[in-house]
């Protein structure tokens, strides 16, 4: 659509007291792509997403979403995004349909009922539409959560660890959903600690480590970062896990 990236940050810095969480994050997410922000627990992924979705102020650096500065034009940013946080942000007392209608009404859309009906069908929740969300399984809740983020067709979607705590079945359901979104032209920034997830879903992968983006590229580009000498000895293509551990350094307990 344009050359303006959907998300662009430069030198983003954030500390909590003495603890520097982000130490200068430079990230550019082209419009219409799915980018995975990959990092271990505490790497600052959620902090970055919270800054980009105007929930948190950065200490320094700049960040723009959909061309709007998060610090100076937060209302325009909020109109351009949807956030699906780490915990399913659904109303347990309401039914699935009521949750979707609620979001549509808050976005001042015409025909909230029709929008809710479409999304329920699209996410396989039509049968459960009239049930209270408290009775939903973890996977159904997550699907509803993502469906709520799609109300209003925002151009940029943040998914913060969308599959954390889900069973494998539900994880596959969520993956399917994200792939459908990517086909529809929505820009998706998803954070994950699962290397497999990034490999499956993302056009580009950015690795956040100790508060900085230490690698950013397509899976193929990242694969080239492995020392070629090592490639000679392996028969299989290296998995992303190996790439990750190799460039992050082997100080992590995972082996």
């Amino acid at each position: 659509m344009s050359a303006t990236p959907a998300i662009e940050t430069a030198g983003l810095v954030k500390s909590y007291g003495d603890h520097a969480v982000l130490r200068g994050v430079d990230l550019s997410v082209p419009s219409g792509t799915v980018v995975a922000l990959l990092g271990s627990n505490g790497a600052g992924k959620t902090t970055a997403v919270r800054i980009l979705s105007t929930l948190l102020k950065a200490d320094g650096g700049t960040a723009a979403v959909n061309g709007y500065d998060v610090a100076t034009q937060p209302a325009k940013v909020r109109a351009s995004i949807s956030l699906t946080g780490q915990f399913a942000a659904v109303d347990e007392v309401l039914t699935g349909r009521e949750n979707l209608v609620l979001v549509a009404e808050l976005r001042h859309l015409t025909d909230p009922g029709g929008i809710a009906g479409d999304l329920l069908a699209r996410f396989g929740l039509s049968d459960a539409a009239g049930r209270r969300v408290a009775t939903y399984s973890g996977g159904m809740r997550r699907r509803l959560d993502i469906a709520m983020s799609l109300v209003g067709d925002v151009p940029v979607l943040f998914l913060d660890e969308p599959t954390t705590g889900l069973d494998p079945q539900s994880r596959i359901e969520v993956w399917k959903t994200v792939r459908q979104l990517a086909g529809g032209g929505t820009t998706v920034l998803l954070t994950t600690q699962y290397l497999e997830e990034a490999e499956h879903l993302a056009d580009r992968i950015a690795i956040l480590h100790e508060g900085r983006i230490i690698a950013d590229g397509t899976l193929a580009e990242l694969k080239q970062m492995l020392p070629p000498a090592k490639v000679e000895y392996v028969e299989k293509q290296p998995t992303l896990e190996e790439i990750f551990l190799s460039i992050v350094g082997n100080d992590s307990p995972v082996q």
């Binding site: 979705s53 105007t54 929930l55 948190l56 102020k57 209302a75 909020r78 109109a79 995004i81 949807s82 956030l83 946080g85 780490q86 915990f87 399913a88 942000a89 659904v90 109303d91 347990e92 007392v93 309401l94 009521e98 609620l102 979001v103 009404e105 808050l106 976005r107 001042h108 209270r132 709520m148």
Partner: protein, 253 residues
């Protein structure tokens, strides 16, 4: 902008009223403790308490109404806490909606819920022999003071709702508020209390509010009490609102 605030508030009010409708037990539990106190004090301790010529239930009711509000607002804090800890609060504040609507939805729900609880308590009091010949104007004034008091305490409840780390922290804050009427003219006249206690009882907000409500429905002159009560309520409301808004803006950055 303002029409957005109103329509967003209306949508969120509808949402949390649905919560109440689907768990009416929150209103019933709010009313049960004050009703139990009403029964206990009228039928057990009442005979030993000398309050002058009238019925003791007439004397007691205003204090019980304030206790009803004080226990009712802990549910407002609880509902807000649930939103914050569950993540839907973050969804709301990351959406392009009027920022204050997120709180106003809960505050207005609190007013509605408390009015229902207050009505329940008054009905029980009537069944126990509470009578008043006061006209609609006096009752309107009673309603006005109770509304002000409810709004002030509700905004106070917003603060723990936003900041609490656990459910216990949320419900704990209202205990002192429920206890405050005991050291006032709500249950017994302050005249018989020892010096320092009496001084505190006569100068804390509950006494002036209770005396005002009592005099209004007894068709007695309210005197300075009405102004002192209104000043307490309005002052408390302003302070609580300012503190709640500051907490809110800190939280949403």
């Amino acid at each position: 902008m303002t029409t957005d605030t109103i329509s967003d508030t209306a949508v969120l009010l509808k949402r949390s009223l649905r919560h109440i409708l689907r768990s009416p037990d929150t209103i019933i539990t709010t009313a049960v403790t004050p009703i139990a106190m009403l029964l206990l004090f009228v039928y057990v301790f009442g005979a030993a308490i000398k309050v002058g010529s009238g019925r003791y239930v007439n004397y007691l009711l205003p204090g019980i109404l304030l206790i009803t509000v004080a226990s009712g607002i802990s549910y407002t804090a609880f509902r807000l806490f649930t939103d914050v800890s569950g993540g839907i609060f973050e969804r709301f504040v990351s959406m392009p909606i009027a920022r204050s609507a997120v709180l106003w939805g809960h505050v207005l729900t609190s007013v509605v819920a408390n009015l229902i609880s207050l009505t329940l308590v008054v009905l029980v009091a009537v069944a126990m022999g509470f009578r008043s010949t006061a006209g609609p104007l006096a009752w309107l004034a009673v309603l006005g003071i109770l509304l002000l008091f409810t709004l002030a305490l509700t905004w106070l409840a917003v603060i723990p709702g936003l900041t609490a780390k656990s459910v216990d922290g949320v419900s704990g804050f209202s205990y002192p508020l429920i206890f405050l009427p005991f050291i006032s003219s709500a249950f017994v006249p302050t005249a018989g209390m020892p010096g320092p206690v009496r001084w505190f009882a006569q100068h804390q907000p509950v006494t002036s509010i209770v005396n005002t409500i009592r005099n209004l429905y007894a068709e007695q002159p309210v005197g300075n009490n009405a102004w002192i009560a209104t000043a307490w309520c309005v002052g408390l409301l302003f302070v609580a609102y300012a503190l709640a808004m500051r907490t809110y803006h800190r939280k949403i950055a």
